[in-house]
């Protein structure tokens, strides 16, 4: 679910980043209220745990494995605000150190995985466990919370992708970033999460929380005692589901320009068969058009290619000399 750079337009990334700023600020405030300042460093340990949870290969019936996110798990055991910070830090480490998730899209990734998933999951868990007493309420709450939490994160992911063709395209109407509209991105993201990843998430979350409850129940974060009113549940559900209206309300977006919509709608409809335009072959001159710039001599393009070519030769040379080195010292680990 980690979105790399260049799948979302920088504008979308900026919006998602801006959306996260108040969440982060609030989270920091809540956490510093709850813990005294000297305890803050051990949020790092929580973040380490959040990071490592994502590394486990959880078995799926059938023999394959999948990774869990643990957003709802963290919200239940650490509290939602701490979970938000810990997952954000874990995502930062993944982006900076492992190239897992982009730098510009960091805000979007945090929105999906550090905000939507833990908060919604926690909210649902508390809502159910407060109404259905005993162990059943706990389990059902955990299952529902983690399953819906991760799927909602997948949905917001899909919405961010699916809006790109509408928001960002060049003069020819070609999408600049993710080319798939909502009608493609939403099923593409949701189906695997509803069918597999969500189930894995729920199973893993329930199993871990039951283990902790059996072994050391005092370790689980005790949330606020206030009851969560049903009206909020309805509101949240509405907010989360409203983007789906974008799928149906194609006409509402007609205001963006009918020819632009036509090109996107063409693309969206064409899934499964090859449009007639392909009979004319691919438009290679589209590349060449972009390679020269009006007003500047063609030489710029040539210089860039020459430098690139030289750099590639040096890189290949260095890579080949690596092969020579490693065949000299074979190491079986």
């Amino acid at each position: 679910m980690h979105i790399p750079d260049n799948y979302l337009s920088p504008a979308t990334c900026a919006v998602m980043g801006a959306a996260m700023v108040p969440v982060w600020t609030m989270a920091v405030r809540k956490v510093t209220q709850e813990f005294d300042k000297a305890r803050i460093p051990h949020m790092g340990i929580g973040a380490a745990f959040a990071f490592l949870i994502m590394m486990f290969n959880v078995p799926v019936p059938g023999g394959t494995t999948a990774h869990a996110l643990g957003g709802t798990l963290l919200a239940v055991v650490l509290g939602p605000w701490s979970a938000c910070i810990c997952v954000s830090i874990a995502l930062l480490v993944q982006a900076l150190l492992f190239g897992d998730g982009g730098i510009l899209s960091f805000g979007a990734n945090c929105f999906n995985m550090a905000f939507v998933c833990p908060f919604l999951g926690y909210f649902i868990y508390r809502f159910i466990s407060q109404r259905v007493k005993g162990q059943t309420g706990e389990y059902v709450g955990l299952i529902a919370g983690s399953y819906i939490g991760i799927n909602m994160a997948a949905l917001t992911d899909a919405i961010e992708f699916g809006l790109q063709p509408l928001l960002a395209h060049n003069a020819a109407g070609q999408p600049l970033y993710c080319p798939y509209p909502l009608s493609v991105s939403i099923p593409a993201m949701l189906i695997p999460h509803l069918a597999v990843a969500g189930v894995v998430e729920a199973a893993f979350t329930v199993a871990i929380v039951s283990f902790i409850r059996r072994v050391s129940p005092g370790m689980i974060h005790e949330g606020a005692k206030t009851r969560i009113r049903p009206i909020f549940a309805v509101l949240v559900a509405l907010i989360c589901l409203s983007p789906l209206g974008l799928l149906a309300a194609g006409s509402a977006w007609g205001e963006w320009g009918p020819d632009e919509i036509a090109s996107v709608a063409n693309g969206g409809k064409a899934l499964g068969f090859v449009p007639a335009g392909m009979a004319n072959g691919f438009k290679f001159d589209a590349f060449l058009q972009d390679y020269s710039v009006k007003g500047l001599p063609d030489i710029i393009g040539y210089i860039i290619s020459a430098v690139a070519g030289a750099a590639i030769l040096v890189i290949l040379f260095r890579l080949f000399s690596l092969i020579g080195k490693s065949s000299g010292q074979r190491k079986r680990v």
Binding site: R214, V215, S216
Partner: protein, 241 residues
């Protein structure tokens, strides 16, 4: 039963074991002695297939232990059932919510009937003196109790070979005596015992054979255990005593 020939292993550029040659027969009780960083733990991990040698060969019970052979599930499982490992840190071996489940984990996997599982769990708990802890979560036990639980759960597999990585670490004297008695009874039962240890005072009479690993990761002496212990000059030169 266990044969290592010219085994060497390095990790991240640092040498951990150098040209190890070893021949251990069924039923032997062997102590591995050496200073910190000599490679004792690494050798024990290698014997269990957790790390694989860079060079040389490891033959266990007539079969070669390599990355390829361990990919064969049947061989790997039989191998791991036949040779049991007690990690230096007992905490890493405990992942079940109760002691009873922890000990029953092995036999349950082996497909034993419920009666056999119950019998073996009970026997192992009694042998290690932790029957009263059966329902407790291992997490909250003292370090001595944790080590006993880890020992019991490895024993429940009924391995032929028991590899113990510094089993006496952080145990109080009474528990050390207790563990020593358990090991003695296992030797009498015909198990092959391989043990790395620093604690010479508490392992009197346990080992017949001693193997000394030097600080440059090679075996410097393979001799009668009592003789090695009596040679204080040698032990001092190896930074062991």
């Amino acid at each position: 039963m266990i044969r290592l020939q010219n085994v060497s292993y390095s990790y991240e550029g640092c040498e951990a074991l150098r040209t190890i040659n070893l021949d251990i027969s069924r039923g032997e009780s062997v102590a591995f002695i050496g200073p910190n960083g000599s490679g004792k733990s690494t050798l024990l991990k290698l014997l269990n297939g957790i790390v694989l040698a860079d060079t040389g060969s490891y033959v266990f019970d007539g079969k070669s232990v390599t990355r390829a052979s361990l990919r064969d599930q049947t061989f790997a499982r039989t191998f791991h059932k036949t040779i049991g490992f007690l990690f230096q840190n007992p905490e890493v071996q405990l992942f079940c919510p109760s002691v009873e489940e922890e000990v029953a984990f092995g036999p349950r996997q082996m497909g034993c009937t419920e009666e056999v599982i119950a019998e073996r769990s009970e026997d192992c708990l009694k042998l290690l003196g932790i029957a009263h802890l059966a329902q407790r979560p291992p997490w909250h036990l003292s370090s001595g109790e944790k080590r006993k639980v880890a020992f019991a759960s490895v024993l429940a597999l009924n391995p032929d070979v028991l590899v113990l990585d510094e089993p006496m670490n952080s145990l109080d004297p009474k528990t050390k005596h207790f563990i020593k008695d358990v090991i003695l009874s296992l030797i009498a039962a015909g198990k092959t015992i391989l043990c790395s240890t620093h604690d010479f005072a508490y392992v009197e009479g346990l080992f017949i054979r001693g193997i000394v690993i030097s600080s440059d990761h090679a075996i410097v002496r393979d001799d009668d255990y009592q003789k090695i212990l009596a040679d204080s000059a040698f032990l001092a030169s190896q930074n062991i005593l």
